[in-house]
């Protein structure tokens, strides 16, 4: 053999690096556009070196109307939805993880099934239903729906994390007369802190990026979250100022990217957990 195994491996590594870098460059182009345009005084639709470095685009969009109100709305909707999701999921996961019941399996299978359903499909009936029960165009209605749509996956994930907490620790407290609720709050949840963090961040990120739900259920412009208000950059304000659109995209995306980085290591390839990841 002319080529030894190591030199063949080295060559393979170079080829793999080159291949990956080509793909990365292609993936990078749209991302480069948003970053470069945001600091370009004269941005258009192309990736190009900025004509100069400016923060005028950020200055122009950092106003009550354009940025702060929509971001606050996003925070209320997603914060409320996430809180509701996490509390309900933690409560529901406890008996599913700790007690044996013949209902557990059917319930968990239904949950798993629901995780996979295309939520987009039910938005029209949800709209019709919300009109009838007067929940249309209300923050609370949207929060409830956000929570319900995220719950199946949250319960599934939470139960898996909870199964990882050894039961022995609760048994000592149990004999001391602690109630199930106390066991959950004082012992189980603190021990699965990172798991709760993953469910929380994941739910929040999913809701933050969701466009269709608030687009359908909210009507008043004042209540629109950033996911919908970003549409305003087209049409309503006359000609599209691409630099400002790019700057707003960055401001709106930063929180979820930071949150993702925070939990990335825990998630890893862990989606083999077997739940759906939508969005």
């Amino acid at each position: 053999m002319a080529l030894t195994l190591t030199s063949r491996r080295k060559r393979h590594r170079l080829a793999a690096d080159a291949g990956l870098l080509v793909v990365a460059a292609a993936f990078c182009l749209p991302l480069a556009w948003v970053v470069l345009s945001a600091v370009d005084p004269d941005a258009n639709l192309q990736v190009k070196a900025p004509d100069g470095l400016t923060f005028d685009n950020f200055d122009a969009i950092l106003t009550q109307d354009i940025t702060f109100t929509p971001l606050l709305n996003s925070l209320i909707l997603c914060g409320g939805g996430t809180l509701l999701t996490v509390v309900c999921a933690a409560l529901a996961a406890y008996p599913l993880s700790r007690f044996r019941s013949r209902l557990n399996r059917p319930f968990l299978l239904t949950i798993l099934f629901a995780t996979c359903l295309p939520v987009t499909a039910i938005m029209v009936p949800v709209y019709a239903l919300f009109v009838q029960v007067d929940l249309i165009d209300t923050m609370q209605g949207t929060i409830f729906f956000f929570a319900a749509s995220q719950l199946p996956f949250a319960i599934w994930l939470m139960k898996n994390f909870m199964d990882g907490v050894p039961k022995e620790l609760e048994e000592a407290a149990w004999t001391d007369g602690a109630s199930s609720f106390q066991l959950l709050i004082r012992i189980v949840l603190p021990l699965m802190g990172p798991g709760v963090a993953v469910v929380t961040v994941f739910s929040f990120v999913m809701m933050w990026g969701n466009f269709f739900v608030p687009f359908m259920l909210l009507l008043t412009p004042d209540q629109m979250p950033a996911a919908v208000s970003i549409n305003e950059f087209f049409g309503n304000r006359g000609a599209v100022v691409y630099g400002q659109l790019a700057a707003f995209s960055i401001v709106y995306s930063t929180p979820v990217i930071l949150l993702y980085v925070l939990i990335a290591r825990r998630l890893g390839g862990g989606f083999a957990l077997g739940g759906a990841v939508k969005g």
Binding site: R13, A15, A16, D17, L20, L21, V23, A24, F27, C28, L29, P30, L31, W33, Q46, V47, C88, L91, A92, Y94, P95, L96, R100, S101, R102, L109, L112, F113, C116, L117, P118, T120, A121, I122, P125, V126, L129, A147, S149, L151, P152, W208, G209, N210, F211, F212, A226, A227, I230, S249, Y252, V256, I257, G269, G270, F271, A276, V277, K278, G279
Partner: protein, 292 residues
């Protein structure tokens, strides 16, 4: 005899914590689905009609005679096959396989970029790719640079453009799952084949792919389900146009229900979408069961 049947009271207290979740799920998820199954059989409209009446399978009959609906079905199929089955899966697997051999800094860099595209909010991703595919956008600039013919992608081939957009946005998920699956293959097996002189392609085909076939199954399912419900991405890029050339089922449903005020008809389409989703969902659960 289980503990639950011996102490019916205790079984009830134990089930109590599930109730908030159950109430939410029934009111806001199961409720709308049941309501969906009901209004799909009525002629409910948004305006100008006080009451709706039961019309049986009329909405479905209408759908299958409606060219716009059949067009949407066809485009949904194209969109799903191109972006999910072919694009996200193949590219995800290719990236994961290359990452196995690549040097660490390259691996980290590429992973970071691909995952960023995945984490970005749907609408932002839509805008970025809208800018990329526009006539005066980056893609045409690159093509010009290479002396290749450019064109107005969003006008001539909108379904291709939105499919690429979905690949851009969704590949990270397959990449992550496949990376995890490839890492679990024992090193000795691939090394033995390598020493025996099996080429990279042969090892991929005869050893790697059969060993990760379950991950392939579940990833295909999840990608497909995710792709079936894409709305915002297409909405931002093309609004389903021009002339319905990128109008997949979710956009068709939205147009019928709200622009044409035919809630009953739109819901019938939604119900069909839900049924297709349920079938994929059941297949997915079967795949998982063999894995557990």
């Amino acid at each position: 005899m289980t503990a639950a049947t011996r102490h019916p009271g205790r079984a009830l207290t134990r089930a109590l914590p599930v109730s908030p979740a159950l109430v939410l799920l029934i009111l806001f998820l199961a409720g709308p689905i049941a309501y969906c199954a009901y209004i799909a059989f009525t002629d409910l409209q948004l305006t100008g009609q006080a009451e709706s009446s039961f019309v049986g399978f009329e909405n479905f009959r209408k759908a299958f005679q409606d060219e716009a609906f059949l067009n949407a079905v066809w485009l949904t199929l194209v969109f799903t096959v191109l972006s999910s089955l072919v694009g996200q899966n193949t590219l995800g697997l290719a990236l994961a396989a290359l990452m196995q051999r690549a040097s660490k800094p390259v691996r980290t860099l590429v992973g970071g970029i691909v995952i960023t595209a995945w984490v970005l909010p749907e609408v932002v991703a839509g805008f970025l790719l809208y800018a990329f595919f526009r006539r005066e956008g980056t893609l045409n600039a690159v093509l010009d640079l290479l002396h290749l013919p450019s064109q107005n992608w969003l006008f001539t081939l909108p379904i291709l453009a939105v499919s690429f957009a979905n690949v851009w946005r969704g590949t990270a998920f397959s990449m992550l799952v496949y990376s995890a699956a490839l890492n679990e293959i024992p090193k000795e097996i691939t090394e033995a084949a390598e020493v025996d002189g099996a080429s990279g392609w042969r090892r991929m085909w005869h050893i790697t792919l059969p060993m990760i076939r379950r991950s392939i199954g579940t990833t295909l399912m999840l990608n497909t389900l995710q792709t079936l419900s894409v709305f915002g991405l297409i909405w931002v890029m093309t609004r389903g146009g021009p002339g319905g050339k990128s109008q997949t089922l979710p956009l068709f449903m939205y147009e019928q229900a709200f622009q044409n005020s035919l809630i009953g008809y739109g819901t019938a389409v939604a119900l069909l979408l839900l049924l297709v989703g349920s079938v994929f969902s059941l297949v997915y659960m079967r795949l998982l069961r063999t894995e557990v």
